[in-house]
Symmetry: C2
Subunit: 242 residues, 2 copies
Amino acid sequence: MSASRAPAGGASAGGARAAGASGSGAGPPAGGPRAPDKRRLILDAAVRVFARQGFHACRVSDIADEAGVAYGLVYHYFASKDEVLDTLFIERWEVMLQLIRDVDSEPLPVREKLGAIAAFIIDSYSHDPDLMKVIIVEVTRAANSFGDTHIGTIREAYELIGAIVEKAQADGYFKPEIEARFAAMAFYGVIEQLLTGWIFDLLPQGEEELQRAKWVVIETVCGGLETNAVSDGTTAGNRLLR
Amino acid sequence: MSASRAPAGGASAGGARAAGASGSGAGPPAGGPRAPDKRRLILDAAVRVFARQGFHACRVSDIADEAGVAYGLVYHYFASKDEVLDTLFIERWEVMLQLIRDVDSEPLPVREKLGAIAAFIIDSYSHDPDLMKVIIVEVTRAANSFGDTHIGTIREAYELIGAIVEKAQADGYFKPEIEARFAAMAFYGVIEQLLTGWIFDLLPQGEEELQRAKWVVIETVCGGLETNAVSDGTTAGNRLLR
DNA sequence: AGTTGTTGACTGACCAGTCAATCTATTCGG
DNA sequence: CCGAATAGATTGACTGGTCAGTCAACAACT
């Protein structure tokens, strides 16, 4: 429930370089906030355009216009229109993957681990709805084209979450009857559907709702996965074990 | 849990007719299984092609080829490529909507109501994975383009499910702290994510797994929504009230 | 004098949608 | 009962527009 590290949108960080430019090593002279950094400008513009019109419906010239640069410059920094989207996805997903790994390695109760993951994703949406919309709509859920390309990376997230669930089962917090893989999908599915609800404007999305949603996710999913009696007579849920 | 009415894929049924053909009333002489019914042929071919290549990546000629008809015939029955997909979605979604309405109107315990809905969707996938893939990937989750067009119909499903949850809350089976709208999204999200898992081949999809998944969905979601003590001391879950 | 950044007009491919022609079935006058 | 007439079904070559990606030139910086 604490602050949770929401990601900064601006800094360059990784980002897979395309073909073409050999990039002699050093980046811009000083990484200060002053540099125009057209590459970033294009990436950020692309997020807005993709979110507004969708990847397929928008033209490369729309991105260039939005970024205020010439058409050709897009191809100076990226090998193709696809690569722009790929870059956006990889950049962001890698951060999430790292967070999940970090969370996983810490000795926390499951609720807090899953809570941190849910919080991260929801905070990411809160911080940059357009970017999350693009990643979910255009990549994560695009079974053909992009989804296929990144399926390996996407799967990794599910597997890491699955591992967390498995551990919780081994420790007796979660019931073992529900396969960890299924549970991981369920957990992630609930979160993604909430984002979808916000994206489609099917759910109210004040800051308060977003915060509350974190709790709802955990309460709903963990509630169903925990070993809270039912079959055995004791009232002792994990609550007491913890 | 019972058989649940899985939909037949073949018969024409409703289906919004396009512009053009005024249809002087009677359809084909006898509605027997003999009639070629090119319209249906095209629709079924489109499902296969859309599932395989995706809506955007495929050409109208691919559909015509797959159906074994001439290019132009597609435009005899449908006003546009879009209309083919629209028709597929509406046809199927309407059936689901009707099922939800039926289920809702019957006096059943929540678990069985939601169970019937989950079963229907999962059976639909089991019966025609391609069609479900197309509907989910190309429409339900396409925030721009198609998703936008059908958002009203999609929303209706969420609202109906939400109403079921609300009723369960009023009856004391579900806890009231989790807003019905959220719960409905969570429920649907879990199911859709499972389908996604199967579509992307992230989850094993034997017939046995699909059947088991129905139980997992209910167990997970309802487990988290039910008023199973926790805050009050009694072990009495809804199980006893029922 | 070279290297990297930036520009935008241009091209080549691709494809949705059109349409005139052909085919098939049903109707109807004689 | 037959052949003409009408209407729908079916065909596939063609068109028009769109757009991703190229490239030759120019600018800025070192």
